[in-house]
Amino acid sequence: MVTVPVSGNTLMSSALPVFVKSSLRYWQKHRWQVLLMLIGMALGVAVVFAVEIANASAKRAFALSLDAVTGRTTHQIVGGSAGVDEQLYTHLRTEAGFRRSAPIVEGEIAIGSESFQLLGVDLFAEPMFRDDSTGSNSVAGRGRASLQLLDSGSALLARTTVQRLGLKIGDHFSVSVAGRDATLHLIDVIGGSRQAAFESLIMVDVSTAQQLLDRNGRLSRIDLVIEDPSELDSIRGLFPSHEIIESQTRNASLKQMTQAFHTNLLAMSLLALLVGAFLIYNTVTLSVLQRRQMFGALRVAGVTRRELFTAILLEATVFAVVGTLLGLLLGLILGNSLLVLVTRTINDLYFTLDVRRIDVSLVSVAKALALGLGAAVIAAVAPALEAAGSAPATVLQRSSIEKQARGMVPLLALVGTALILCGALIVWISSSSLWAGFAALLFIVVGYSLLIPKALMFAAGLVSGSSGWLRRFVGPMGHYPVRSLTASLSRTSVAIAALVVAVSATAGVGIMINSFRYSVIDWLGQTLTSDIYIRAAESQREAIPDALKQDIAALDGVTGLRVARGTEIEASGSPVRLLALQFSGNGNNGFSFRKTNGQGHWQRFRSGDGIFVSEPFAWKTGLTTGDRVRLSTDRGIVDFTIEGVVTDYSAGQGLIIINYASYQRYWTDNAITSIGLQLQPDVDIERFKPGLRDVLARYPMEFSLRSNREIREVSLDIFDRTFAITHVLRLLTVGVAFVGILSALLALALERRQEFAVLRSIGLTPSELRNLLFVQSGLMGLVAGLLSLPLGLVMSKLLVSIINVRSFGWTMDFQVPAGVLLQTLLLAVAAALIAGIYPSAMLSRLPPAQALRNQ
């Protein structure tokens, strides 16, 4: 089957067939072992591949729709939160005669529960921008129907979207924008090779978009194709108060927004692969141990070390290929489910993105293949070296590899310690690199797992020193389980290490999420200073009348109002949430400051051009208190001073908080997004609401009412939803570890079949034997669980203090709940116990006579 490139020795040609034949027989006899290894490996690869393709699909879909929307645009004129006055565009095209410009009105829209991006274009300006063709002739044959786009309510969708929604050309379909319903008319579909780019878009005319979004008179931006820098200068001259940004820069920073999120997912998936690699190492080691007689015979017959090494490695490679391919298949299925979660998190944290189809690129396949094969082969190197490295005589000896393994323990511990120190050093030296953070994490995890054999031996010493309690617990032979675990250290320690890595990752991530959740709850408690919030539709541009504010303030029990206007603006080329706040009445200000710009920051915020920014914003821009932020307002470009950095977990893209009075000074926008009502402590909110509704009913707008408690609940729901994918990855990793420990237990059990038969012949009943094995599994789990705790704590600390900060700019309080620690222990023990069910049941049923007769 394989020819092995071996230098010199011709014996290989005769030795290899023997090797192959006997290997095949061996593996045939140990089908379960092969199966479990393949499952474990396939799972590991599947997780990596699934995450990779889910990531890649989400990124690609975003890039595609971004490019579709950007087209050949080189620059964009953007305004403040209200966008650009459409008359500026008319001026640009008529008086200024700059034709390589196109108006864009965009916003969010939904068909049913699906979100789409509404893209309002001017078809007459478009060919310059989003058309590959050189002239309109190439699109001849479309018919007059294309002009239908000019008709109010006409829309275009990608063909795949149309098929999915069950629409056909000519249909009318319902959409909703900011809570308002509207009907669009599907005049045609966008087909062809690039339709994927349009899958999350609904394309309409500028006029239709303005109507739908209730933004008559305004454009979201003006796209430009600028070839000559001097043109840019003259356009800058025409638009002194507008920001002109380079599209590529903007797109790049948009694409960058989710990068940290994707990196985090990938890193988590690599943990699953690491656990899978442990499993491979375990299986190959075991197979080497069990075939020591054959290897010894081969070596005695004159097969060189190198040949033996190559043969074992080749064998592992064959399994790796099969396992990886299986993993790819499995990952493809898994990827579809992950994509939903990934997309949802991106939607919750960053921007509207609708990805339906998993998109498997060759690059993704190559990555997963390389990772899978690489991990497998690297995992097989050590056992192959061991087998090949022994002298022919010692290969024959039963315990030589075990002894060797035992001899390695101090060395491993040393290397492990070094790796951990290295990881710590990386954390200490690097300041902001996310990859350095992950590298440190990896060093620490691998280093720690190398310490596990040492720790196991230490623990075994402790337990056997005081085996009394164990005996009482399990009856006779209390020390037996511990002994037999340490006796086969080379295998048990790897299985335990795999479980430790998986379980500690679970613990680490669990603690991180928990810390995060606590911090969010804390922050919500501090931020939600009002008792009831009234929200107006996002796009509502007409101001909530002062009369309403007065009417509300006049209600019984109201002690203060907090008016807010939230919009999205561009800052340094990427979207940022802008929140304008107005205070009246007393009460706490609702901010938790991480940093302030000395004394008087409040004063400068309330009266001057001071703003507060969120931690993610500060992290992403590298700005801090005292620095200036340049924002493009409706009154031109203005520099604001950062007076404080505040905790905020609401906007992944970053948040800028401005005093409402300052906001109105720079933006021609009287609208209000929400009004918070502070009530006297004794007011019953449910009783208060009807009166408030009566007041609101007097106004022609639509409002929604939410109590403080409701907002908290909704926020935490979103929080939990955001981390759903993390939970899934944790479970998958534990799944791989479970397969690993099952495989290890099965191997141990089978290897000790004879010993168990002796025990049975001495008088151990089947149930006693089963319990014995069960206790052994449980012990492995318990040890793994206990060993997971320190690593879990370290990982969580790294995640909270390093990874999260470097990924998102979020700092949070470190919270270690006893529950999570207990859960970790339980998880490890449960995983091991469940994995122990089958081997112990199988062995206890085995007739002892048979095993004894075979000796």
């Binding site: 008529t94 309109s136 007059r144 294309s146 002009l147 000019l150 087909g191 062809g192």
Partner: protein, 377 residues
Amino acid sequence: MKYTVKIIAVCISCLWVLCACKGASEQPVVQSISLHTELGGNADGFTRACGGREFRFPQDHGPHPEFRNEWWYVTGNLKDKKSQAFGFHATFFRIANRPYNTDQPNSWAASQFYMAHFAITRHGGDQVRAHERFARAAAGLAGAQAEPFRVWLDDWSINATQQSRADKPEWLLKLGDGSDHLELVLTAQKPITLQGDQGYSQKSSDPCNASYYYSVSRMTASGSLSIDGQDHRVDGTAWLDREWSSSALADDQQGWDWFALQLDDGRDIMYYQLRNNNGDRDPQSYAAEIDRTGGRKILSLDDIDLEVTRWWQSDSGSRYPVAGQLRRTDTGEVIHYEPLIDNQELPLTVRYWEGAIMLSNADGESIGTGYLELTGY
């Protein structure tokens, strides 16, 4: 009259907007393009030209949005100081997408759009330099108005000057694209001529397949021209056609040849022959002579004899009758015409030949200049 416009109007619908839609060729054509659906077809919701009307100026210089199509059509011959000859062609087309509705939801809503063509030709040049633009008749991007007169699309425009009078317009023409620019003051030398029957110009046997049509057959043109980056001070004569209609062609009409001749003796002659599918001249063809004071005389079609002397084939494969002679049997006058250059086919959304021509008598002496439009080839 310029039926060209109508073909172009049809083909504008070919204009498709997004590259992603290119794959559309695999799809059945949503609605096939036909000259006749556009020009002869359904005019529901539009006002049709079914009989005479009273023309009023300056109002009628402005748009008539209740009609489906309308254009402001200027052609002319120019010379610079070194007697280098140029031809120019500048047209604004108004095309309705839907019947006119004054009640629009916002400033971008458009039931009409504009198309503009700008072409200049240099004697001795390789080919005509043609440019095309589109814009919706909304948001101030394109439009027309009577007082003060203005028609525009982006930065291309015709504006009335301070001196302009309703019956003797003086307009400033400004067009440019890339290295081609044209800025001319056009001053009427003759009064407005109502074509056809008092401006009612029937195009086929159906009396409602007709347009309203007036011309200023001679205007002085003076200004500057840049062609391929070369600036020239230029003077010459121009011809203005104004026409609007909602349907004009019959099913069996194929194309036309249109002559606008400006003779050195002060006379202007317009002649168009509609060609039927069998190649015959349609009886609704038309010829008129405008004397030096603006008096119009309709010529009998029987008195006009057109003989083609030379055909020119373009790279696109069409063969055009670019040279020939017009013989008047009533007076015996013979006018030979030759193009300024052969390649005056406009490679725009619709291909047609629209070019400056030089006129000479039987002795080969120059007797004037003109413009020739050849469609349906």
